[in-house]
């Protein structure tokens, strides 16, 4: 399983990766900084034409992204049959109930709020890492 982390802030991406690794997450982690990249990556289009990355994928998606934002990526992937079953986890910074509702309505699988305080943030990401280690995905997704 390859974990695709879509996060435009490189610092934030690095901190997420570090804490996933601390939870003994040994999967490949690919960091993408824009929404369009996430869609291209999955479909092996544009920059990723001919790419041979290992399947299945699991997406960790930030909502505030330049260009195609998180909602659009979510809509795009969940509307399309070949990409619909990719597990998609939203990593949000806000606790706005309407935002949570909107993401689930668009078909996200799990919605998480990143705590602002770093120790809690690190603990939350480590728990996510432990959770990911027991997630079972269909082959070839």
């Amino acid at each position: 399983m390859t974990i695709v982390l879509v996060e435009d802030d490189p610092g934030q991406a690095r901190l997420i990766e570090r804490n996933l690794r601390r939870a003994y997450c040994t999967n490949d982690i690919v960091t993408l900084s824009a929404g369009q990249q996430a869609v291209d990556y999955r479909l092996k289009e544009c920059t990723y034409a001919g790419a041979t990355h290992a399947l299945p994928l699991l997406l960790l998606l930030d909502l505030n992204l330049p260009g195609l934002d998180g909602y659009q990526v979510l809509t795009c992937l969940k509307a399309d049959a070949p990409t619909r079953h990719i597990p998609l986890i939203i990593l949000s910074t806000t606790e706005e109930p309407s935002e949570t509702e909107r993401c689930y309505a668009l078909g996200c699988n799990i919605y998480l709020t990143k705590p602002v305080e770093y120790e809690q943030f690190a603990a939350a990401i480590r728990q996510l890492g432990l959770f990911l280690s027991i997630v079972k995905l269909p082959l070839g997704v």
Partner: protein, 267 residues
């Protein structure tokens, strides 16, 4: 003339809305790098702990002068630097949080209802009972009229004014706090009067500004209380002002409009 006034009002409301959005964006967008700063400071601390743990085994292999330098860096420099980074980040985080809160108060929907202010202020007095008893203050309330307003907002307004009145009493002088209220033609007027330390005339306008704290800094607080109160009062179509005589006491007066437009307001 009336048309001109209307035009100006619309312009002002637009400007207010702009400032509000600006405050919201600034506080949200400032927070992201701050969270990273806090995160990487923690990561540095973790890395430094790893070095610290390895130090006893490594030190004997170093030159004496190097040994002193290395232990100084690990024992003193790094912890000091991290300490400063962390306190600054925390301070900045509080400031951003306060601005965010202020912009939210300016935007939150008001739930207008008829409020028994006598009961509401009585509740405030009970919340402050411990502090009031500690400084042996005498609190006289009302009689107060009912008012149509947002309950939470009125609780915050009265709570803040009364907590200030209690906090800034003069130690050793029996405190007297009087809350009055009166219904006028267009507004209801409430006043909180104390016989506390008072505010210097030059400082009076500053007390309503965000983060400004005046007088001797012996009472803890973030300097946002009256900024919050002012925005809540403005949301109720009202005004707040302050009369004070240094060393004698302070009166804060608040008006609440009978007819509230209820649009969002920026600070």
């Amino acid at each position: 003339m009336e048309g001109r006034v209307k035009e100006r009002t619309v312009e002002l409301e637009e400007a207010n809305e702009e400032v509000r959005r600006f405050a919201y964006i600034v506080s949200h967008d400032l927070r992201a790098p701050l969270v990273n700063l806090q995160g990487f400071a923690s990561e540095l601390r973790i890395a430094s702990d790893v070095l610290q743990a390895a130090l006893p085994a490594v030190l004997p292999h170093l030159e004496p002068s190097q040994r002193t330098d290395v232990s100084h860096v690990l024992d003193q420099d790094i912890p000091e630097v991290l300490g400063f980074i962390e306190t600054s980040v925390t301070r900045m985080d509080h400031l951003i949080g306060a601005i965010l809160h202020l912009s939210r108060l300016g935007h939150r929907d008001l739930h207008l209802e008829s409020l028994d202010m006598q009961a509401l202020v009585h509740g405030t007095v009970q919340t402050l009972a411990h502090q009031i008893a500690a400084c042996q203050a005498q609190v006289t309330v009302g009689p107060l009229p009912t008012v149509t307003a947002d309950r939470t907002a009125m609780e915050q307004i009265m709570g803040n004014l009364m907590a200030n009145a209690v906090a800034y009493l003069v130690p050793g002088r029996p405190g007297e706090i009087v809350v009055t209220g009166e219904r006028h033609a267009d507004v209801t007027v409430f006043a909180v009067r104390d016989n506390g330390r008072g505010i210097a005339t030059d400082d009076i306008p500053k007390v309503f500004e965000p983060f400004r704290r005046v007088g001797s800094q012996d009472v803890p607080g973030e300097g946002m209380g009256l900024a919050y109160v002012r925005i809540l009062v403005q949301r109720h179509g009202g005004e707040i002002w302050c009369h004070s005589t240094w060393g004698v006491g302070t009166t804060f007066t608040v008006t609440i409009a009978h007819q509230i437009a209820g649009g969002p307001r920026a600070f």
